[in-house]
Symmetry: C2
Subunit: 429 residues, 2 copies
């Protein structure tokens, strides 16, 4: 009994530490780096992918498509057909991006030559990376890999990334939490909707880019950045990854530090359980489909982007973004508020950084508590894009996903095994 009390006390202390560390976060977008320079694993014929680790045989269609595109981009093969031979022949290394301080939306493929956003959280000495958002339509992250996709990626690497990096250096980085909090007050939840954050970031970047001196590419660069409402999603993901890595590995802590999907499995990590993934089959999102598509076409949920929900944004901040409600299939602004309130039931506290004006500036529910998820039988809700299950088609809708409870049940069992005595019951924890 004394031991059980000790465990409960230890969890309480650990979870307080989780929230305290979180309150100290101050991530900044500091540089654009080439992936190979900051992720040594990429020097070989290896790519990073979203979600928990997966083998080549089990890859879903869109992730496979994105990998073929990356192989062509890197010049490891000349055609998608040759790329497929390399991939199926076991010649391409697959690594989980989360293991390399990185995240990627949807397929989340990162390969050596891709530029990545570098977000630095000084207080925790944490750095996180994410690819640069390609825009919408036929894009690698949704599994498209034809020539225009590869050309756009080359343009991003060759033309966009260098001046963007110089602009960020000149600005000495862009503190992200004030910008993100401001975007929340402008109707972004920073998963499905990033138009405010993207616009605010653009306002900061455009003059700094113009100061690089007259470049013939400037107008095209400003157009690319200015037209992309989701540009900030990848920045938000890197910021949230840095914040969540900073609260990882706290002994006895029941706070969730990652939720992610590889298109086949949905996985979570828990602070007190380190880097272990607890996985369950990835669900197909409930949502709205573009004309001509339906649930039968949908790939199971995919991407590292659920890191934003893990940090208290996305569906957790739905009350801040009533305009998203209809887009993801909710009936009303009231349901948007209800989503945020439901998430308050399973979190350790309120975000000290992200405030919702419509709730009189209450913080968003933050710090998913493994115990509460099991206790109240409510799993995190995630706003998400829906990819076609076949490689090469792309996005076919958007909706919400309820994280599978099995992943949390497994995590709790592991937590009990690690921290409780053999006789410890779950209810004591």
């Amino acid at each position: 009994m004394a031991t059980q009390m000790g465990i409960a006390e230890g969890i309480k202390r650990a979870n307080n530490e989780f929230m305290t560390r979180l309150s100290k976060a101050a991530p900044s977008l500091v540089r654009i780096r080439q992936a190979r320079d900051v992720m040594p694993v990429l020097s070989d014929q290896t790519v990073l992918h979203a979600g928990p680790p997966i083998t080549v045989e089990r890859l879903c269609g869109p992730m496979r498509g994105a990998i073929l595109g990356a192989i062509v981009l890197e010049g490891w093969a000349k055609t998608p057909e040759d790329a497929a031979k390399l991939l199926d022949g076991g010649r391409i290394g697959l690594q989980c991006a989360h293991d390399w301080n990185a995240v990627g939306p949807m397929a989340g493929i990162i390969s050596a030559s891709m530029p990545v956003l570098e977000v630095r959280d000084e207080p925790s000495n944490t750095t996180a990376y994410c690819t640069i958002n390609e825009g919408i339509g036929a894009v690698l992250r949704f599994g498209a890999y034809d020539a225009p996709v590869i050309e756009r990626l080359r343009w991003i690497g060759d033309t966009l990334a260098p001046p963007l990096d110089r602009a960020l250096e000149k600005l000495e980085g862009i503190p992200l939490l004030p910008l993100m909090n401001r975007a929340l007050a402008m109707g972004d939840e920073m998963h499905q909707r990033n138009v405010a954050a993207s616009s605010l970031l653009f306002r900061t970047l455009a003059p700094a880019l113009a100061k690089q001196g007259a470049s013939s590419a400037l107008a095209r660069i400003l157009e690319f950045l200015g037209e992309n409402d989701q540009f900030f999603l990848n920045v938000a993901m890197a910021a949230c990854k840095a914040m969540m890595d900073a609260v990882g590995g706290i002994s006895s802590c029941t706070g969730v530090t990652a939720m992610s999907r590889n298109g086949v499995e949905f996985g979570i990590r828990v602070s007190g359980l380190g880097d272990t993934w607890f996985v369950a089959p990835s669900p197909v999102p409930d949502g709205l489909y573009f004309p001509g598509y339906g649930a039968a076409d949908a790939n199971p949920d995919m991407g590292d982007s659920a890191i934003v929900e893990t940090a208290g944004l996305g569906a957790f901040a739905m009350a801040a973004a009533p305009a998203v409600a209809g887009f993801v299939g909710l009936a009303s602004a009231r349901e948007a508020v209800a989503t945020t309130l439901a998430m308050s039931e399973i979190t350790l506290g309120k975000s000290p950084h992200f405030k919702i004006p419509a709730l009189d500036f209450e913080g968003t529910p933050t710090g998913i508590d493994l115990r509460r998820v099991i206790e109240v039988e409510t799993t995190p809700i995630i706003n998400t894009g829906i990819a076609h299950r076949r490689a090469g088609v792309g996005q076919i809708g958007a909706g919400v996903v309820h994280a599978p409870i099995e992943a949390f049940q497994q995590a709790l069992a592991a937590f009990v095994e690690r921290y409780a005595s053999p006789a410890g019951s779950q209810s004591r924890i």
Copy 2:
């Protein structure tokens, strides 16, 4: 009795016409023009000002300060002291901006050399003008007139306006209603808060400016536009002026087409009563003051900016902008919603253009009905900035103003006189 029925029927038809015309509005920001080229009255030593007409003896401090600045800017005098002599000697013509298809925030001074935003509403063949927003701090519109203020105005005219005009021509104008509706979904009410609309406009303008070719001024221009959260206010004012002029002069119509203040008097215009102003003393706003200032320092309410409330934005759209609530002295997001709902009691209908996500995309209350204002004894609420009563000090706070009922009472009396039989009672109208 039959005549009374005829009048009521006539008003109903006229007010339907008001709302029908409004639904057809499609204002676009099309050009930057020099004021003298589009307002012939300015060729003489004349300036336009905000609010109903006023004589030099009755000018409030900040409007007087702004006029002194304009006189120096135009070179009619070398120093503010000499400018004061010209002004007090009756050598400067004062004209109401509203009479020249123009509006201006706060003092609203427009002089010959100033560039003005040109907004064109094709469906109604209406054109409206507003100055370019100078930014915050010591600015002409709040009555500041020292050298840096004049220099900034020169820079706006010489350096900013020409490429901005070329960019707008290249873009073939920017349709404003979609942008404004989008900004409403991003927490702007477009009077106190224009950060979303300013950012969205900036995203469109920046690439077009860069396409003008490499100019050494580009970085500074982008900085000026990118740093000014209220840049769009003046655009919104011109758009609302065009929309309201398009519903002016409808016989028997009780819809209000202008609310404006010259810092001494508050005036309204009513569609069925043409260009006549109905005035009452301008109230001092209730609100929050910057440190060191209080109500005793405040000038009575001033500016043409209430044209945005007249068109269903500003305080009428407060429910869309909970972040504004605290800034203008409301206690909560609930009070923001209550403000919008209260305005529904005095309006002819809902805006077909401006929708509020938090109210499940209901249109903002639009078309202030003179009769309803009197019937329910509720006058329009206006979000407003507060100027110091002395010339040269500038902004000292922000708050809300309730339009004085006396202006509406006078308008109703005039309406009765024009449209009802001598025996007609107000309640029949």
